[in-house]
């Protein structure tokens, strides 16, 4: 197994999960993942390959997300899709579709940095890697994640607002 294959086998699944959660579309995620790996192949050497891959993927997503029309289109389609699924599917599928839609809405309701930090952490990146990927100070990752998690849960559960973060150290 050569280096390229090893890289792909080791990181494709977590990268796809991260991108799918971030983008809400498997095809789009696959497209970005492929571009990420293509860029990795052009690198003579990667210091921290996991951090590098997720950082590149995050930047690619950011570039794409800046195209507002594309994003709006995505959200419109997601909304329509949920409506279709709700109308057509059995109860279990409807519940899953509703959960998925709620999760998507909540995730989109987070700030970009909070959203990315949360998704990167879910893929196992440590605070140093997250800080490097997002340009944060390492000491602020915990606060970012705390805010993101709280906000995400509140949005899904329909609880408005939230408590102030932290009570001081």
């Amino acid at each position: 197994m050569d280096e390229t294959e090893r890289l792909f086998r080791e990181y494709h699944a977590p990268l796809m999960r991260y991108l799918t959660r971030r983008l809400g579309d498997r095809d789009w995620a696959d497209e970005v993942a492929q571009e990420t790996f293509l860029r990795a192949l052009r690198q003579p050497r990667l210091e921290n390959e996991r951090a590098w891959l997720f950082t590149v993927a995050t930047n690619l997503v950011r570039d794409a997300a800046r195209q507002e029309s594309r994003r709006r289109r995505q959200l419109q389609l997601l909304h329509r899709d949920v409506a279709d699924e709700t109308a057509d599917a059995a109860d279990t599928a409807v519940i899953r579709a509703e959960e998925r839609a709620a999760a998507r809405r909540a995730l989109e309701g987070l700030g970009e940095r909070d959203r990315e930090a949360l998704l990167l952490r879910e893929e196992g990146l440590d605070y140093g890697e997250i800080a490097a990927a997002l340009g944060l100070a390492a000491g602020s990752v915990g606060t970012t994640l705390a805010r993101a998690r709280r906000r995400l849960v509140e949005l899904v559960e329909g609880r408005p607002g939230g408590r102030a973060a932290g009570t001081g150290a």
Binding site: H12, D30, D84
Partner: protein
């Protein structure tokens, strides 16, 4: 030690604090009920956020705008496509068909009754009993439109993958197993080819002149169906004439009755009857923007 801030608690729960700091936090939490409560809450938030995010894994694809060229470019990446979308714990089997299909869902067709689109032609050899389309709701509207020989087979692959609701149908057949249905069978003879060309030509003229409008009043569409049938009969006659030994006259026409049954019109007597078992169908979809 002061009370813990939320960021520190999450960092601790994530195992991201140094050993020394983690030990301090642990001791403090053991002694401080308020921070203990915060830790318990933070544990819930960590678990809750993970649960919520896991719901996002069950998604399909196909909403990448303009992905035709984009995917093509990515695919050229060679080896990186091998894994496909295996990752992410997808449960694709539970997801309804998506991709470009979503653009042509039946509900969409009905809702868009005044604004249609389309493209696609399909030729289907038939050897089965009369055709009944799936739903009666759409049946009153005969759907036919353009037939373009050159585009016929090219369009088939794509069109057949989509859940195209009730494709349009033009029928050309011979009543009693008399060899070829001259207008459209794939008989590889010169005469057969000439017949097909003639039939296509006539049908094309018809459809160009009288495209059927989805969503138009039923009465109007029925009238158009009769017109179509008449012209289709002309096409069939032309095809038959191209054969040296033209056999029995063949019935040709088109109508979807209110019960959803496809009926053909006898070109001589003019009566409508169920589709013969050995008919050959040309299924057509076409694009059109309807008035109103």
């Amino acid at each position: 030690m002061k009370h813990l801030d939320e960021g520190t608690i999450h960092a601790w729960l994530d195992g991201q604090l140094s050993d020394d700091l983690a030990a301090l936090v642990e001791r403090h939490v053991a002694d401080c009920a308020e921070c203990g409560a915060l830790v318990a809450e933070a544990r819930g938030l960590v678990a809750g956020a993970s649960r919520i995010l896991s719901a996002l894994d069950d998604v399909g694809g196909g909403i990448v705008p303009g992905s035709g060229s984009a995917n093509g470019g990515s695919a050229s990446g060679g080896g990186t496509t091998g894994g496909g979308s295996a990752g992410g714990g997808a449960t694709a089997g539970a997801v309804p068909p998506r991709g470009r299909m979503r653009w042509v869902r039946p509900a969409g067709w009905l809702a868009a009754a005044g604004v249609l689109l389309a493209v696609g032609v399909q030729v289907v050899g038939r050897d089965s009993p009369p055709v009944r389309t799936e739903q009666a709701t759409n049946l009153a509207a005969p759907r036919v439109v353009s037939v373009t020989p050159g585009s016929t087979m090219k369009a088939e692959g794509r069109a057949s993958r989509k859940p195209v609701p009730k494709a349009a149908t033009v029928v050309a057949s011979e009543p009693a197993g008399g060899g070829t249905a001259a207008a459209v069978t794939a008989q590889p003879t010169d005469r057969g080819a000439a017949g097909r060309a003639a039939a296509y030509s006539a049908l094309e003229q018809t459809s160009a002149a009288q495209p059927v409008c989805y969503g138009a009043p039923v009465a109007m569409q029925r009238a158009e169906a009769r017109d179509m049938a008449a012209t289709a009969a002309t096409a069939a006659t032309a095809a038959t004439a191209a054969r040296a030994e033209a056999p029995a006259p063949f019935a040709l026409g088109l109508m979807l009755d209110t019960g959803g049954l496809v009926r053909v019109q006898d070109s001589v007597v003019g009566t409508w009857s169920p589709l013969p078992a050995d008919s050959v169908l040309i299924r057509v979809r076409a694009v059109q923007r309807c008035r109103g």
